[in-house]
Amino acid sequence: MGPLVTDHWYDLRDLSNISREILEGIDKVAPSEVAYIVAPVLGFVAFFLIFVLPSQLIVGVYGERRIIGRMQARRGPNRVGPFGLLQPIADAIKLLQKEALTPKTADRAIMWAAPIFFVAPAVLLFATIPFGPRMIFADIPVALIYFIAISALPVLAAFMAGWGSNNKYSLYGAMRVVAMSVSYEVPLVLSLLAVVVFSSTMSLQGIVLFQADVNLWLVFMMPLAFLIYFISVSAELNRTPTDIAEAESEIVAGYLTEYSGMKWGLFYGMDIGYALAASAFAATVFLGGWSMWGLEEWVPPWMIFIAKTHLFYFVFIWTRGTLPRLRIDQLMAFAWKFLLPLAVFNLFLVSLERLLWVENDIGDGIVFAFAAGNLVASAAAAYLWARLLGYRPERIPTKPRLVREAGGYVPVEGQTGGGE
């Protein structure tokens, strides 16, 4: 909060001015219970309906399809509205008027409850994320643990959806979701634990203030934690390359096979919503949140924050358009054998540095040295650990052998082959 951001209600750089004016206005004319009730509604309207839902629709539905379209040498949706911008509205209307079939042998109660359990976490997660210095709905001191706890709910919802559908493919999807989410929770928590150790606070606003204080984003400080977070959270979100729970080419649609109509729309929309929540969380914890080395006094901090969220989400879209999908046993082996030791190593390194910093009372400039050292150490650790686990890129020939005459079997001579 610099000298430029004022307390006037029309200063849009700090939107909490408006809500404070409204609540104080209500306080003057009505008993205090009304303000108590209006506050969460206002928070929901402000945070979810004004920020999250449009960005979810524009970026998640429209933006993702257009960007993936460009990656695939085709245009995305561009018919509905100018440049296709009304495509999400058209999708929503289409889904609303569809018949939401429920198979006769399926468990109706569980099938109906699963989308509700899926929507709730995405909405709840945005409550603790700071959009600006005073624009946070619930600044609870254990926001990080709150995030990890809430992110277990969609797993339950996916399992309910798969079980309740009474369909072998759905059951496959449900089992895979549970196995994968359980495997990837551990590296996720460990990488976030490194963040907590370094910034010595679990409140998200505290972590952003810490990053603004030392003028260094935590992504540079612990790049390994960022990478592990990215992979683990994309596994939690069932996004390619780890989307085996919903692998379209293998088990049709996984746990979503029997869903249609708006129930499916809720799953699909909240998939994006939850991805945006995870992106927002990453933007807060690793990319510096609403702080931008002093720029947040000129540009509204919530704009900076939303830009960072969308940047992170773009990387999700990018990997989705590019990479194939891994098999379930390969995924779990990756989580347990590769990511977990690296997360532990990262935690050890960061704790050591924090200890050195605090015990010896060194100035804040040491973090840049720590960052440089961490970058090198992380790259070396990842590479060496991969080599130890048997990763040999040069052994695999990527081109076939070429022969000119037809005959019988031509045995492979030597280790490396390779055509032209």
Binding site: G321, T398, P400, G419
Partner: protein, 369 residues
């Protein structure tokens, strides 16, 4: 452990309505968890009794039938059938006709492998990006086919004794404009997939067919070549003048799905090389010999085969001096390549079974006829 946790295998259907079975094809897989214990294929959803219908139509009227067996490589099917009839009736094809046939067959091979390699990448989960790139180029080939023969997919272009029509004027410049763009796309697709760690992890050592089993199971095409057997009918038993073109055949290392994929990519490159050579040396002259309308080949039998994109496509014809064949049999490469489906999938997981099926590159129209 198995006394504490009791599990029993159950039968799961993969197909016939499935995004990844390349048509109406069903595999009844007995699975235990994610491990497949037994796989049995069920076909016949697309059986149209072509072999019986062909006995009631003249030899020329059967050519559109052959289009619709392997609908992704119709020019090759036509070519095989016309070769069989020409062998039976001892008809010579002029040189220009042969060169045009070679150009069409190789362009068709590129188009079919675009679809085959792209669909295989789709099966491994590369969310339609490589298949979209290949499809864009395949569209250009289909436009060329439409310009020449009138149809995109079921071309009905080859005739007994040559081809139906001569090449249009803008054919050569369209093909020459297409070849560098296709080479660029092949490089793009290969760069995206062949070195990709995830793709290699999905396709390497999956669905391995050792070379003795490959030969014993009558495999052909990229499946046989993937196992290291250097067998390509264009080299071994050249037809239509293939011996005058300079090209190489790719063979694999250990017969897994990854080998077949890189073989298909390389075959596309070699096909483009052949098309260039054929266009450079395109002779003049008639494009087909005159064949009587009611062709009655002398009594006898003939078996002719070509290297279609899927393998050895053979036609066995028996003639009884009538206007229609006495027996018309298609040797479908996709069906015979499925002989090893059980050996490839048992012991792997369902994801591997889908990858294995994608690497065989089946077309159900050919399986069921």
């Amino acid at each position: 452990m198995s006394e504490i946790v009791q599990s029993e295998p159950f039968v799961m259907n993969i197909g016939p309505q499935h995004p990844s079975t390349h048509g109406v094809f069903r595999v009844k897989a007995t699975v235990d968890g994610e491990r497949i214990i037994d796989a049995e294929m069920v076909i016949g959803y697309l059986h149209r009794s072509m072999e019986k219908l062909a006995e009631e139509r003249t030899y020329t009227q059967n050519i559109p039938f052959t289009d619709r067996t392997d609908y992704l490589s119709s020019m090759s099917n036509n070519l095989g059938y016309c070769l069989a009839v020409e062998k039976l009736a001892d008809i010579e094809v002029p040189e220009r006709g042969q060169a045009i046939r070679v150009i069409m067959a190789e362009l068709q091979r590129v188009a079919s492998h675009c679809m085959g390699a792209g669909a295989f990448a789709n099966d491994t989960g590369a969310w339609q990006t490589p298949i979209m790139w290949f499809m864009r180029e395949r569209e250009k080939i289909l436009d060329i086919f439409e310009m020449t023969s009138g149809a995109r997919l079921t071309c009905n272009y080859m005739r007994i004794g040559g081809v139906a029509f001569d090449l249009p004027e803008s054919f050569e410049e369209e093909v020459r404009a297409f070849i560098p763009a296709m080479r660029q796309t092949i490089d793009d697709g290969e760069g995206l997939l062949s070195g990709n760690e995830i793709f290699i992890a999905r396709a390497r050592n999956v669905a391995v067919v050792p070379h003795e089993m490959a030969i014993n199971a009558s495999l052909s095409g990229p499946m046989l070549r993937g196992s290291g057997v250097a067998w390509d009918i264009r080299k071994a038993d050249p037809y239509c003048g293939y011996e005058q073109y300079d090209f190489e055949i790719p063979i694999g290392y250990q017969g897994d799905a990854y080998d077949r994929f890189i073989i298909r990519i390389e075959e596309m490159r070699q096909s483009l090389k052949i098309v260039e050579q054929a266009l450079d040396g395109l002779p003049g002259g008639p494009h087909s010999t005159e064949v009587p309308l009611a062709l009655r080949p002398p009594a006898g039998e003939a078996y002719a085969r070509i290297e279609s994109p899927r393998g050895e496509l053979g036609y066995y014809l028996v003639s009884d001096e009538g206007p229609s064949p006495y027996r018309f049999h298609i040797r479908p490469p996709s069906l015979i390549n499925l002989t090893v489906l059980r050996e490839m999938t048992v012991g792997g997981s369902i994801a591997d079974a889908i990858v294995a099926l994608g690497s065989i590159d089946i077309v159900v129209g050919e399986i069921d006829r």
